[in-house]
Assembly symmetry: C2
Homo-oligomer: 251 residues x 2
């Protein structure tokens, strides 16, 4: 299927609207709002132990985002671009200890019943989650600035997912309510970031080949998010599947 | 647990026997002979479609092994070491087209009912498998020669697993019998390679810290093998779990 796709790619530049439509189609088909684990979560089917496993494993992703953004900053020789992008590092790390998105994620994990000391060292994270997140850092480290920016475009889709999730968490997992500040912040941050990144790739992808690289980068990033949930769903839904050395819930 | 482990590590050098015992203990606890997917395979519970998914996905690992060994060769300034290690590239790539371990793995995939054209492009490989295998290349690329060699020590355990597997495949999956040449080859290659690597790490790890790096490298490699089976077991055992864009068996 992919080979046929490649053979059919023409040389004509996509219009901004066409590029945007292609990106939205990738998200519709491949973003993790469709993942079985999220569907279970939203249906209220997950136990507290499973929510803990999700919060603990997803923390590894959260903890690597500013490192990813630093790798990306290091690719740009443009102070204006770097000023705009460094907002993301600030959003995650905060201005001082006790603030920022990573701290808020720890508070979500605490609301699920974990101690922050269990979460922060990232011991017990599933290797499948680690390999997927590390693949994201490798992608950003080894690709062009254009592709690195494009890999952030999953944020185009995160507002809707977070908004739905917050509503359903209040219904199905009320013990998490004290830990929802992370999502509140992302409701405004993610669309701002996505608008910037979409404008960037639309103006900077100057050939059809570069536009196809942008689309492929979004697809790769969707795989990275999806594979994390594959690992979590596998390990914590069927008894007996937790890999050696990984987090074992107490509840 | 890992933090406690680190705190208890002393400074005394392990004897070769102690180092070997530590490595065998890692294998006993973490090698993928214990993985649920292998247990299912050996119990004869897997369908032909599931064996196809395994052969197709595992091909990605096979295809990357000589690249891993080339990265490792590039770390050594010793012609004698390189002469010894390059045997592995020869084992996998063969002397001419149509020979070598990778070709034999393709024959195993064909025996499962796949066409070689489905297997070789590696389209349809699970992202979770790709990320785990790529993590192996990254580990070897970014670590010392000692750690890179140590990460191959899973071969200490492969002879027993392959031997058991061949017996059980003949019983449970007789259609695979024409494709078992890969395993026949590995029955002698893997122990030779493991003996060389074990001798190397035993003589080259000259501090306790280096010995602990060797043990940790084996543990990381076990995670890499285990995570591949996690992804395969997740996607192909429960209906509805195949990630977007991945191999869908026809049978």
């Amino acid at each position: 299927m992919e080979m046929t796709g490649k053979a059919e790619v023409g040389d004509e530049l996509l219009t901004p609207e066409q590029l945007r439509a292609r990106l939205l189609a990738v998200g519709e088909a491949r973003y993790h709002h469709r993942h079985p684990f999220h569907l279970r979560m939203h249906a209220g089917e997950l136990t507290k132990a499973q929510m803990q496993a999700w919060a603990l494993n997803r923390y590894y992703y959260q903890s690597r985002i500013p490192m990813k953004d630093a790798l990306l900053l290091a690719k740009s020789d443009d102070p204006a671009f770097r000023r705009a992008w460094r907002k993301r590092i600030l959003d995650h790390d905060g201005d001082q200890d006790g603030y920022g998105g990573i701290e808020k994620w720890i508070q979500l994990a605490e609301a699920s019943g974990l101690a922050r000391e269990q979460v922060i060292p990232c011991t017990g994270v599933l290797p499948g989650v680690r390999f997927a997140v590390d693949a994201y850092l490798t992608l950003v480290r080894e690709s062009s600035l254009l592709v690195a920016v494009a890999s952030s475009l999953t944020e185009l889709f995160s507002r809707d997912l977070i908004s739905l999730r917050m509503d359903l968490m209040r219904v199905h997992y009320p013990y998490l309510v004290p830990g929802l500040a992370y999502f509140t912040g992302r409701l405004t941050q993610a669309p701002e970031d996505a608008t910037f990144a979409l404008h960037y790739v639309t103006t900077q992808a100057r050939t059809r080949s570069e536009q196809e690289q942008v689309i492929a980068a979004l697809s790769s990033k969707c795989e990275i998010l999806w594979a994390q949930l594959d690992a979590i769903d596998y390990a914590y839904v069927v008894p007996g599947n937790i890999p050696p050395g990984c987090f074992v819930p107490e509840v």
